[in-house]
Symmetry: C2
Subunit: 480 residues, 2 copies
């Protein structure tokens, strides 16, 4: 790992490996994905132990996170093997086309160039050195320079070594991934003229500061940031009537999971007032109370959680219904929809949930109107529940993923996953940081017009030697 002065070297090195990564093609980069997955898997026990020492997230959770990280690499190997992500599109020349004769046009997506990744504190594996941003950028064909998170430097180094070893095994230069550390290196990285895009997971404050640098460069670049998310959680009266206790217990499990250090932690739970809501809150408090506290990711995060929780509890109209003694123990606050203070709309990172009691759908709707953009929203509804469609319509405008009768923590890494949402949950809700389509962030289209066959990349050749799925003259044609 390098300090500030070496950011220039790292980016220069990234530029030199770019042709090799591009030349590897989909097949070569699919092999890269699998080789990195194998290296991470092989070194998994040591990585997980290191990560636990640095983050205190616990071995079971970290084993799961490693498995997810490995799975993610294999998913991108599938994405590369299938090839649809290239969006190969061919329009044959047509001298008789209306309104004007048209040339032969062939479009595909190409890598944007070196990518900067800012690792997250809360996922030392899945959103860090070998995480989703790095994996999708490498899959796209972009070399990556990661600014490691100061909360888990040794884990970062070890994962970095696995990625670089995987590159070697796959016959690629190990510098497809490089690491830098330190705040000033982070700033130098986003400013560097040869960096073409940024992936970031972290706080609203830190993310917005880097975003502002990225977009105010002489040549601005896209900054794909995943920032803060309050993740509204709505329980309809029918759902509360049907299964108050079950939902209360489930919510307790979700908001306390990993000490509440998930970007998808439900932070604001809308519960109907009255008897059913009371039962739900009792179950919630009952299930959360015995959940142990523990060491949060970093001392700064712990301090911020305690201060943020105390500040929220002191707001007018807010009542504390659970605040067990001890470090980072779960907290439950209660407020009422019409008088909910603004501060409760901001994420409080850690094991805290605010229950917002509402009376009727007009109160619920007015309160939901105030909720900021989020990664997820959740609704618990009854079998025949008249208000669901209206609430969902309102929530969908604000979020990237809509969860029904479940819990938003736990993000499946699949083709259909979307992990992103309106600001401040992400800086660019058009894109995702999890799932197969995360690769799209690091690609740009290029069109070839009337190119001689020999000058076309293999992906665009008429005889389709790579057997890619493609759209020809407007019609989809399957691949191999």
């Amino acid at each position: 790992m390098t300090e500030h002065a070496d950011v220039d070297d790292a980016v220069a090195q990234a530029m030199t490996v770019m042709p090799a990564l591009a030349a590897a093609g989909c097949a070569g980069r699919a092999r890269l994905m699998l080789a990195i997955a194998d290296e991470l898997h092989a070194d998994g026990d040591a990585i997980v132990e290191l990560a636990d020492r640095e983050t205190a997230l616990g071995l079971p959770r970290l084993r799961g996170e490693l498995a997810r990280t490995v799975h993610q690499l294999r998913l991108f190997a599938d994405v590369l093997s299938e090839g649809g992500y290239l969006e190969v599109t061919i329009d044959h020349a047509d001298p008789d086309a209306a309104p004007a004769p048209r040339p032969d046009l062939r479009r595909m997506l190409v890598p944007v160039g070196p990518v900067a990744v800012y690792a997250a504190s809360n996922f030392p594996l899945a959103f860090s050195v070998a995480g989703g941003d790095t994996t999708s950028a490498l899959a796209a064909g972009c070399p990556v320079v990661v600014k490691v998170h100061s909360g888990h430097p040794h884990t970062s180094l070890r994962c970095g070594a696995a990625v670089r070893q995987g590159a070697t095994v796959a016959g690629l230069p190990e510098d497809v991934l490089q690491l830098v550390q330190g705040r000033s290196a982070g700033v130098a990285l986003v400013r560097h003229d040869d960096i073409q895009a940024v992936g970031f997971t972290g706080s609203v404050e830190g993310g917005r500061a880097l975003y502002d640098i990225a977009v105010s460069r002489p040549r601005p670049i896209p900054f794909y940031g995943e920032l803060g998310s309050i993740n509204p959680f709505v329980v309809t009266p029918a759902a509360a009537a049907e299964r108050a206790e079950e939902i209360g217990r489930g919510l307790a499990g979700s908001f306390t999971l990993g000490l509440g250090q998930f970007c998808t932690k439900p932070g604001l739970a809308f519960v109907p007032d009255g008897e059913d809501g009371e039962r739900l809150i009792q179950a919630l408090v009952g299930a959360a109370a015995p959940v142990p506290g523990g060491r949060m990711l970093t001392p700064a995060i712990r301090d911020s959680f305690h201060a943020g929780a105390d500040e929220r509890a002191a707001q007018p109209g807010v009542r504390t219904v659970l605040a067990a003694k001890g470090e980072s123990k779960p907290r439950v606050l209660l407020t009422r929809a019409p008088t909910m203070p603004d501060m409760l709309l901001d994420e409080c990172f850690g094991p805290l949930v605010v229950v917002v009691e509402y009376n009727g759908s007009a109160q619920l709707s007015a309160a939901l109107n105030r909720v900021p953009g989020s990664l997820t929203a959740t609704i618990h509804c009854g079998q025949k529940d008249e208000i669901v469609a209206t609430v969902v319509r309102q929530l969908i405008d604000k979020v990237g993923r809509m969860v029904f009768n479940g819990y938003p923590t736990g993000v499946a890494v699949t083709w259909a996953m979307h992990h992103g949402g309106p600001y401040p949950s992400s800086t660019f809700p058009h894109h995702t940081s999890v799932g197969a389509t995360a690769i799209r962030r690091f690609l740009r289209p290029v069109a070839y017009q009337d190119a001689p066959e020999a000058q076309l990349p293999l992906e665009l050749r008429e005889d389709n030697p790579l057997r890619l799925p493609r759209r020809v003259n407007g019609r989809y044609v399957p691949g191999a």
Copy 2:
């Protein structure tokens, strides 16, 4: 049209029509596209005459532009009817999935909300009120507020009326499109909290100023700007040897077309020195000399062209080889690759081309390195031309469209077209403002997790009532 004070009203109105536009679905919006196309076509003669009076672009060119605008609407009707643009992706629940049981996930793209469009001076039809930005935003399901260009206000009103009438015919509110005018309205529009994305075509200066506002809002929004482009044009020695005169004449036609008022005008032509290059330059000058000047789009554009051309001609090492007397007559400047002044790398909007003589591929490569991001690059090459692959590789990094043995002016509106490129030619090279995929700018993904069938939009239902193409468990399944 409204002045500044009414931007709030226009956006509020856009918010109210959003549900109707969404509810129309692909089929309803395809009908909208066709109805607008019909209205524009029916009123075509009057629109073209008005546009000619306001822009002096000439009837034949404007008739072509109208046909292109109508064609564009019909292409988006096809895009909507096919439905692949929705990127419907379904992963079924799998309790046995590794590394963790996975829920049912269903992803599709949804409209982002009200879009602001800033119309161009140089395409009063195809990049203006009823142009590509408006069409692709409406197709996506986003209401549009256009800031009309002051160069053709009456044409704008007339096209606006056609779009609104088309909406009525298609059974939609006419306020799916609204117009505002004036600089302060333009600024108020990009600042408005309910505007979710911006399409812009214009100068680097104006575009960057609006871009800076868009990204520094409390909640930033994507600004899809098409700004300035120098469009490098390379003639290899083999091509010059084979057909110097033909290329010289073709280049003259391309850089003088419409008084050089195209964003894809070739502005910088790299020509081998020596005898073949001389022949090419002679043919270029010979063909450009008799091309008449005329009225440019606006007095400001004319003044800027004359000043910019004079300033470039006065640079050290630059020789004027054609500067016919008269308003906005074609100009040809000549310089040498190793000493090319920086100023020549900036677009000079109007009928001016700079010929850069190079001696050997090292000189060519060093000069191309200095070329900024552009919408297009062009290469003219010989039958068996060894340097082509190297030059193309260098150019592709800088541009969105690579033209072979042709001319970059004339942008076909097709599925495979890409009209965008690295900064400053566009603010976001991941996206296009022309062609079927322009719609992607105004859409964001949403994922439904474990939604009851009744709560799913029709697009995501298991039985696929809309017969959309979709990806199910990773595999593409064709639609109807």
